[in-house]
């Protein structure tokens, strides 16, 4: 790397975690409306790591078989947002949304559509809050479903990108009283990290320069 994008200052890291936390917390509210149970969230983590390391992080504590709803976003910065959980829990997530009264066959039939719609609501909610907080506009692709290990989700094998550094931001979530837990992850590559750093610094400087006209 040729510049300082491989490093986030403490305040940049803090700001990204806080802004992501707002996005995911708002999105958790939407998921809560869908499943009727409280959604528990972890404290967010922000790291600059290789794609390969990011793929290992999502496999942590999880089976290697994962399912993800992925949406690409672009605008002032670009990347992909993923809602990830172990494949074995995908039907349980669908069941918690459509209700326990449906048969297994119905749930299997609905799986693809329900996952895409859930991902769409959660990821859009999360990114829209982030964009609003930063006063920027982002475009989102339609959701797609990916099944496989962490490497497949993060395209580690493609175009020899496994060693590329990415900004990896993730939060664990689980649904209370349901055996469903997963991750919400945002992944951005280098040009986007540089752009995002500028935008976050504008935001931080904007807070410090807020007019304090009432101060005598």
């Amino acid at each position: 790397m040729t510049d300082d994008t491989d490093q986030l200052t403490d305040i940049e890291q803090d700001a990204l975690a806080e802004i992501a936390n707002m996005g995911v917390s708002r999105a958790a509210h939407s998921l809560r409306q869908m499943v009727g149970k409280e959604v528990l969230l972890s404290v967010p983590a922000v790291k600059i790591v290789t794609r390969q390391a990011a793929s290992k992080l999502v496999e942590r504590n999880n089976a290697k078989k994962l399912v993800a709803v992925m949406q690409s976003f672009d605008g002032p910065f670009a990347g992909r947002a993923l809602l990830i959980f172990p494949e074995s829990q995908s039907l349980e997530l669908v069941r918690s949304i459509v209700g326990d009264e449906h048969s297994l066959e119905d749930v299997i039939d609905l799986e693809h559509e329900a996952l895409a719609e859930t991902g769409n609501i959660i990821l859009n909610g999360c990114l829209a809050t982030i964009a609003n907080v930063l006063h920027r506009t982002m475009r989102m692709s339609l959701p797609s479903i990916i099944r496989g290990d962490g490497a497949k989700l993060f395209e580690v094998g493609e175009t020899n990108s496994g060693g590329q550094f990415v900004l990896f931001l993730y939060i664990d979530f689980s649904i209370k009283k349901r055996n469903v837990h997963g991750f919400i992850a945002l992944l951005m590559d280098l040009p986007s990290i540089a752009a995002l750093k500028d935008i976050v610094n504008d935001f931080i400087n904007g807070i410090e320069k807020q007019p304090s006209s009432h101060v005598g």
Binding site: M22, G23, S25, A28, V43, T129, I204, I207, V215
Partner: protein, 125 residues
């Protein structure tokens, strides 16, 4: 009368946003900034009002409010969070605490502080 407000948030950014809002709406009040429950509990006896983040490492904001309530049952307290799920808002209410959503707006903070000020004035001897 200027009051002293405890701000509890692990995020420096969130504390900066809060301080900035106070500079606009209650510039004469003073803030005591803390980053976790232990620091907050050590400082709570020196303040009039507390504003507490929910999602923090270690003790979360609602557990902290419950502990503050044991020693300060009447203190105006609000949970400040983007986690607007019914359970979180409901638990804050059960603890007789307000709820201010993030992203923080001056309007939401000002409304809570006006109510807090009335409660403090009523309670004053």
């Amino acid at each position: 009368m200027p009051y002293k407000v405890l701000v509890v948030d692990d995020s420096k950014l969130a504390r900066m946003v809060m301080a900035s809002a106070f500079r606009r709406i209650r510039p004469e009040w003073s803030l005591v900034e803390t980053t976790n429950a232990d620091e907050a509990l050590a400082a709570v006896s020196t303040v009039d009002i507390a504003l507490i983040d929910f999602n923090m490492p270690g003790t979360d904001g609602l557990e902290l409010v419950a502990r503050i309530r044991q020693s300060h049952p009447g203190m105006p307290v609000a949970v400040v969070s983007a986690n607007i799920q019914d359970e979180i808002v409901g638990r804050a209410r059960e603890l007789n605490a307000g709820f201010i959503p993030k992203p923080l707006t001056d309007e939401a903070l000002a409304a809570f502080l006006s109510g807090a000020m009335l409660r403090l004035k009523k309670a004053a001897p």
